[in-house]
């Protein structure tokens, strides 16, 4: 009859004299009834004696320490750890930038979205340097050039209220002769009237009368002067508005949008998250 697991455990503990009273009684009873267990005990005892008698071996060499071996170990941060930490930093930075851009992008294009959903269904054109300034083949039957399209597309910032005010008055700029060159910077004249209530509703500007004459500095700020615009209208050459078409120009405008509060909060959260990441990295590299 094969030995049970219980028998084996009791046998092992019996060898080490580690049985309590009841276990010892149980084992002695099993031992008396089982020749198999008796033989097993004999073998185990012989094996235990043989193991205990294993000699101490002679060391194959001298293990005394050299001064170099005794020097305190300097804990160096493994190269792979540094590299992976750097990769993680870059990844997190990238995610952070994308996140911030994602938050700011819808805000800066708010006006564009607004135009797209306006009842006039006038699709705003992108502002670019290659604007078709004059097209005489269409009989010159165009409205005066205005900068309302510029205003609505890229300048929903409070700083552009003056320009917006001009749009609200539905009047051409003082430097733009009525009935002159028709093509505007993105929107036909008939659209601007439709856009005005919508833009007012969104709070993009606060109409003020009598500010038209003050547009020159603003236009200059946008990258081209009133004289340049007038000259462009007369010569058929587009005004130099490349600066205005630059994406970089959008950033400060977007910063002043109504989502400022949300952006600040998100910025705080990101900063706190960033601090946490740096601390974890420091701990990690330290470990």
């Amino acid at each position: 009859m094969p030995l049970s697991e219980r028998d084996i455990d009791l046998l092992s503990a019996y060898l080490d004299d580690a049985l309590d009273e009841s276990e010892r009684a149980e084992f002695m009873q099993a031992l008396a009834q089982s020749p198999e267990l008796q033989r097993e005990l004999t073998d185990w005892q012989a094996m235990q004696r043989a193991l205990a008698a294993l000699p101490v071996l002679r060391a194959p060499r001298d293990f005394t320490l050299t001064p170099a071996q005794a020097r305190p170990v300097r804990v160096l941060v493994p190269v792979w750890r540094v590299l992976s930490a750097a990769a993680l930093l870059v990844l997190l930075a990238g995610v952070g930038v994308l996140f911030v851009r994602q938050q700011s992008a819808p805000a800066s294009s708010d006006a564009i979205a607004l135009l797209a959903t306006s009842p006039a269904s006038a699709e705003p054109q992108a502002i670019s340097p290659d604007i078709d300034v004059a097209d005489d083949s269409k009989g010159g039957e165009r409205s005066a050039p205005t900068i309302d399209a510029l205003t609505t597309q890229v300048t929903p910032a409070p700083t552009l209220d003056l320009a917006a005010a001009v749009v609200t008055e539905s009047a051409p700029l003082t430097f733009a002769p009525a009935g002159g060159i028709v093509e505007t910077f993105g929107m036909d004249a008939d659209v601007q009237d439709d856009m005005t209530p919508l833009m007012e509703q969104r709070g993009f500007f606060a109409p003020e009368a009598g500010v038209q004459g003050d547009m020159t500095p603003l236009v200059q700020e946008r990258g081209f002067s009133a004289e340049e615009s007038l000259s462009a209208m007369q010569t058929g050459e587009p005004p130099a508005i490349t600066a205005f078409a630059e994406t970089a120009e959008l950033a400060p405008m977007a910063a002043a949008l109504p989502t400022q509060g949300i952006r600040s909060t998100l910025g705080g959260v990101l900063e706190a998250f960033w601090q946490l990441v740096l601390r974890v990295l420091a701990l990690w590299l330290g470990g």
Binding site: S12, D43, L51, V56, L57, D62, F63, P67
Partner: protein, 200 residues
């Protein structure tokens, strides 16, 4: 009881005296190497573990607060070997024939028997035991060597290997059972007087 000269050597070594520490190394290097060899089953690995254990001991000598230095060093080398075995870097298992050829010169006895025939028989048995120890799983090998080779108690094994007493007992009984089966399987290689009585 710690010999006075050992206490003095330890104190000096704790103060950074390498010469004093090396005197302790010379005293215990055979003992530590033997433990390492029993656990690793390989002379080269045992040498590495012994050297690492002495380096580690020197570096953390300040944490030694008395008691048996021999036992303290034994714990260090045992843990080193166990970590190494668990990492699976050294999974040395050898055939008995290979063992007798390869490590014959390394199994020098400190106290050699007088008769050449007796030495040969003893060596056969030791090789068989070492072969069977090396065939055990690391967990079982650790407790068997600590218990039956080093003579540690259950409590000492539990503390050294960070195991509870129940685990120590069960692993030890399984290790002994496996050893018994291994020795039985190679009985014909053993001298007659060392053969097990239970041939089933």
């Amino acid at each position: 009881m710690i010999p006075d000269d050992e206490s003095r050597l330890v104190s000096r070594a704790q103060g950074g005296d390498l010469e004093a520490f090396n005197a302790l190394v010379v005293r215990y290097q055979d003992y530590l190497y033997t433990i390492a060899y029993r656990l690793m089953g390989d002379a080269a690995a045992a040498s590495d573990m012994t050297q690492e254990a002495f380096i580690a001991a020197y570096q953390k000598l300040s944490s030694y607060s008395g008691g048996s230095l021999k036992a303290w060093l034994a714990r260090i080398v045992t843990n080193r070997c166990y970590d190494e075995l668990r990492r699976g870097k050294r999974r040395h298992t050898t055939a008995l024939d290979d063992l007798s050829e390869r490590s014959g010169a390394r199994l020098n006895l400190v106290d050699s028997a007088p008769s050449p025939e007796s030495v040969a028989q003893q060596n056969e048995l030791q090789r068989a035991l070492q072969h069977c120890i090396a065939g055990l799983p690391p967990d079982q090998r650790l407790v068997l060597v600590m218990s039956d080779v080093q003579g540690m108690t259950y409590q000492e094994i539990a503390e050294t290997a960070a195991l509870n007493l129940g685990t120590v007992k069960s692993r030890l009984s399984r290790a002994r059972m496996a050893m018994r089966a291994c020795l039985q399987s190679i009985q014909e290689l053993l001298p007659a007087e060392y053969r097990l009585v239970n041939n089933k």
